[in-house]
């Protein structure tokens, strides 16, 4: 800085410490509550020193919340969204930046329109799509009068009923959340900054487009891929509305949904110690990712909203 201002610098540290306390005190109090017995957690005021029931509550939360199963589900869904979205977006971004073909701009706009509507505004029709992903084919068949044409040709009556129910399946939890172009947009922006000479050189050497993609473009994109993967993992792990609607089977829910069922309601025993313990447990995987990959995380956070 330009001048020496010890008082202001001290004040800045004080402000940052208040900010740190704003983040950490709720987490610490949750930890304390998660370590008390059910009787102690009802007593006010809450003590500042943790009790000795942490592992006991952890065991209760783990079995009551069915977290063994739900954590596996959460990992599958979060990784599925991460890997699926990155793979799909890399391919389509490669196609629209490196290929010249008819309708390129039309497809470009079709993809980018999807940036405009968050999933929350189309929940009930998307539910229909997931409940029967074959529905569009069915409408197509009805529109084209496939059944009556078949009857006319063969003389047999058929009733076309296509059914592909994705409720309570991993694809049902993963695919609708991949249906947005944010990652495609990001990779497109990055590909546009890659020097043209690389592609020219690859072509001179006789490399096929896919060979260029695998050996040059993909390694160049590595830091972008990692940064985006972190953001997508957090997004997938922390999803709420989607799993809430699409998993009627308890064994297909995610950890975040399992946690919701442990919140004390007015008519049940207020087991805040178990709820707080489970809350800390549920936030652990994303916190570990963010702390371990801090630098890529910050890059991803800033990049992904451009």
């Amino acid at each position: 800085m330009v001048e020496r201002t010890p008082i202001l610098n001290g004040l800045c540290h004080a402000i940052m410490l208040v900010g740190v306390a704003f983040v950490c005190v709720p987490l610490y109090l949750a930890f304390v509550a998660g370590s008390l017995s059910i009787d102690d957690v009802q007593k006010v005021p809450l003590p500042w020193v943790p009790g000795d029931q942490y592992l006991e509550n952890l065991r209760t939360a783990w079995t009551q919340g069915n977290f063994g199963r739900l954590f596996i589900n959460s990992f599958i869904v979060a990784l599925g969204i991460t890997v699926g979205k990155i793979a799909v977006s890399l391919l389509s971004a490669f196609a629209i930046t490196y290929f010249r073909f008819r309708f390129r701009m039309t497809i470009f706009w079709l993809i980018f329109v999807s940036l405009m509507l968050p999933i929350e505004v189309r929940i009930s029709p998307t539910y229909e799509s997931v409940a029967n992903a074959a529905l569009p084919l069915q409408w197509l068949a009805e529109a084209l009068h496939v059944a009556s044409i078949w009857q006319w040709i063969s003389g047999h009556d058929i009733d076309i009923k296509l059914e592909w129910n994705l409720v309570n399946t991993y694809p049902g939890l993963i695919l609708p959340l991949i249906a947005s172009a944010s990652a495609t947009f990001l990779f497109r922006q990055f590909f546009l900054t890659v020097p043209d000479e690389l592609c020219e050189a690859a072509r001179l050497d006789g490399a096929s487009p896919m060979h260029f993609f695998w050996t040059i473009l993909l390694p160049l994109s590595r830091s972008n891929i990692v940064a985006l993967a972190i953001i997508l993992f957090l997004y997938g792990w922390n999803q709420y509305l989607w799993p809430l609607l699409f998993t009627t089977d308890k064994d297909m829910a995610t950890a975040v949904i399992g946690l919701k069922h442990l919140i004390p309601r007015a008519d049940s025993q207020p087991a805040w110690n178990v709820a707080m313990n489970a809350a800390l447990l549920t936030m652990l995987p994303p916190i570990i990712v963010v702390v371990a990959l801090q630098r890529s995380f910050v890059k991803g956070l800033v990049d992904s909203s451009k």
Binding site: V2, E3, L8, C12, I15, M16, G19, V23, P26, L29, A30, V41, V44, P45, L46, L91, S92, A95, I96, Y98, F99, R100, R104, M105, F108, I111, S114, L115, M116, L117, P118, E120, V121, I123, S124, P125, E128, S129, V130, I178, T184, C199, P209, M210, W237, N238, Y240, V256, L259, K260, W272, A275, M276, M283, I287, V289, V290, V298, L301, V302
Partner: protein, 301 residues
């Protein structure tokens, strides 16, 4: 460059089959889970069906008319606006103070930043549960503190208390987002500008208000838009876990109302009409966001 080649690399391939294959997965997923549902929401908004889906008929703008005449909907709109504004002002203010402070700190900045960014990793519903506990009128430590000061705090009965609780929980989770953008913005200000101001005798605070803050204008605009989107859509989990729209509709924000009307009351027509209103809002916000991208480009030059 002609518009047909916008966003195309100078060194490119001319092929039709390969790009079609590459685009296929994205287009199929978008068709099934984006375009068809969005069109269905649009058409449903103009239809009326009984709860069992036996009869459906076209009713034009009736769903919208009923919606805009409904006192419940007005109430929900008001609640949403109050919530998003309060959340917006609170997060930007706190984030700005923190960003200003960490811009001046060299030693330990990384550690402070890492801790302040932690809530980004925490699911909204987890944040909601944490704050619901802290402010729980019978066991919560902060509620206890408030009671000790003679405040009859009870978010289960008093509407404004419930609103304050969800605003706090939502802001706690979202301050870090605004903070990282504001800090990046402050760090990007050319030091020559700041030094010139310092030579002219402007102190650190004066420099912040006359140089830093004006240059952060586009970032603040972008963050305001993003905070509105967050407040409108992503807030669902906190509301569902903490207040369920209550007490007496005091925190019944629009996105929660869409869910309740569509999935619990099974009023599909009204729910779809509400979805369409939210879609128009989301479109508007996206256009504003694109404006930010344009403005940012012109500032960089």
């Amino acid at each position: 460059m002609s518009s047909a080649q916008a966003g195309l690399k100078r060194a490119h391939y001319k092929d039709a089959r390969l790009p079609a294959l590459l685009l296929l997965p994205q287009l199929v997923i978008l068709l099934l889970f984006f375009f068809i549902p969005s069109l269905r929401a649009l058409t449903q908004a103009f239809l009326l069906s009984d709860p069992f889906g036996n009869t459906v008929h076209f009713v034009g703008f009736d769903n919208f008319r009923q919606l805009f005449e409904s006192a419940n909907y007005h109430e929900s709109m008001k609640v949403t606006v109050v919530f998003t504004l309060a959340q917006n002002v609170l997060t930007i203010f706190v984030a700005m103070v923190l960003a200003f402070a960490s811009d001046r700190i060299i030693r330990g900045r990384g550690v402070y930043r890492a801790i302040i960014l932690l809530p980004y990793a925490i699911a909204p519903v987890v944040a909601g549960i944490l704050w619901a506990f802290l402010f729980n009128p019978s066991v919560g430590p902060i509620a206890h503190l408030l009671h000790g000061m003679g405040i009859a705090w009870d978010p289960n009965r008093i509407g404004s208390d419930a609103m304050l609780l969800v605003v706090l929980a939502a802001s706690w989770k979202h301050v870090c987002y605004d903070y990282i953008f504001l800090l990046a913005g402050l760090l990007a200000i050319p030091s020559s500008l700041l030094e010139a101001a310092a030579v002219d005798g402007a102190g650190p605070l004066r420099r912040f208000f006359t140089v830093g803050l004006p240059l952060l204008g586009p970032t603040l605009f972008f963050l305001a838009v993003m905070n509105f989107v967050y407040g409108f859509f992503e807030i669902f989990a906190i509301i569902d876990a903490v207040t369920r729209g209550g007490p007496a509709g005091a925190t019944n924000v629009l996105v929660f109302k869409v869910y309740v009307d569509g999935f619990i009351n099974l009023d599909l027509g009204s729910s779809a009409a509400q979805s369409v209103v939210l879609m128009i809002f989301a479109l508007f916000m996206t256009l504003l966001q694109f404006r930010y991208v344009e403005r940012k480009v012109s500032y960089d030059v």
